[in-house]
Symmetry: C2
Subunit: 211 residues, 2 copies
DNA sequence: CAATGTTTGTGAATATTGTTACAAGGTTTT
DNA sequence: AAAACCTTGTAACAATATTCACAAACATTG
């Protein structure tokens, strides 16, 4: 299925292309060149072509890519036809923001459950989802066939939550806690560290001044 | 100040090391080897040494790194002695979660202002910060000497907001909107695209099944 | 329909990032 | 204080990722 190994950065960019191509089809633009698509996504034309090249030949020399075809090809490549069930652990500000975020549905991601250890939060309702005790997680994760877990708890508790999710059968984790989690080989983990992102910006600012 | 160009990924990892080293000093551990530090951060020992090597020689052959010294060196390198003022644009769920996030203060980041276009939200108070009209942004950004802007508005409005921030003098943008923004060369932009992160995970899941 | 202009797809060249290997320097043991 | 042991720092190497460059394919023009 993957003739040559595709870099993760390519996958990430494919989503960007798809987003743009969807916008183009909405605007009834039927054709786009790699150069234009690159311009719209702040990437080079070759980057666009090379990325797409991993998956076949969608373009037409002399005119470019048909946006409708490219859209459906990208959707197929990226598994947009599939739907995954997601659980959010941690019903603090961030967790609740995620529960309320409307974008997930459009991307084949169904938030099916939310968990917290705080008894005061348990059984409260956020956006049609009842917050459940973390102790119920193993059962609910299996019952509802959830395969993606989002960790939105404080750093201290994150490793424990990760362990519970993994032993409940979760295969992918999106981790918002600012710690390096240890998980078994087969579990895919992705860190989103907001402070770190901001701090990187502040490093950039600090060093800009020194020039 | 940068004898060799330092990869951004190195900078990002330095924050991870710092986080770990702070924890170590709290635990009164005074010395750590690159191997141990690597283990704690899920990185290789050489990676650790190479990253630190960009900035000088902090280690002692035979014993490792002094955690206290490493901590203060990293803090200096990463500009943790400096403080930056931040503005959040968009007071929806995400924007409010950011306003409520206690972590920023600890990282030399002061959220000084929040803006929204929705008149219903203007002048409401979130965590001691009054939400102001986006029209006030240029004035406030200059008055309060704000250099980092966080965009937490819907995709459609993001480019307009970016333009306003840039012309108000913002130098760094953390963008949560799922669009590719265009900004002048001198402005540093960082995208945090939650759907994209999750989608990458879902791509991973989709392709796992096919093996 | 030939001539000119575009644009793709991809090998080859380059650049960047990460890993290996090991000499040099420091620590601990006996 | 010699011997055995650890750990750093880095040069050489390997792996990845990106950019260049151009032939081949198609489109457009006169």
């Amino acid at each position: 299925m993957n003739p040559k190994k595709v870099p993760e950065s390519t996958i990430s960019r494919l989503f960007v292309y798809l987003r743009e191509v969807i916008e183009l089809t909405r605007m009834s633009i039927n054709t786009i060149s790699s150069a234009e698509l690159g311009e719209r996504t702040n990437l080079s034309d070759t980057q666009v072509r090379k990325d797409l090249g991993y998956f076949g030949q969608f373009g037409v020399s002399g005119s470019g890519y048909n946006t409708h075809e490219l859209k459906s090809q990208l959707e197929k490549i990226l598994g947009k036809d599939k739907v995954w069930n997601v659980a959010v652990v941690g019903a603090g500000h961030l967790g609740r923001a995620l529960l309320a975020y409307p974008g997930f549905q459009n991307h084949g991601l169904n938030i099916m459950a939310a968990f917290d250890i705080d008894a005061k939060k348990v059984d409260k309702q956020v956006n049609d989802i009842a917050i459940k005790s973390l102790d119920d997680a193993p059962r609910v994760i299996k019952e509802k066939n959830i395969s993606i877990g989002i960790i939105a708890v404080p750093a201290k508790e994150a490793q424990d939550v990760a362990n519970r999710l993994v032993s409940a059968g979760i295969e992918c984790i999106l981790n918002f806690a600012p710690v390096s989690l240890t998980v078994p080989e087969h579990v895919k983990i992705k860190d989103v560290d907001l402070s770190r992102e901001l701090e990187t910006l502040s490093y950039f600012l600090a060093n800009k001044k020194n020039n």
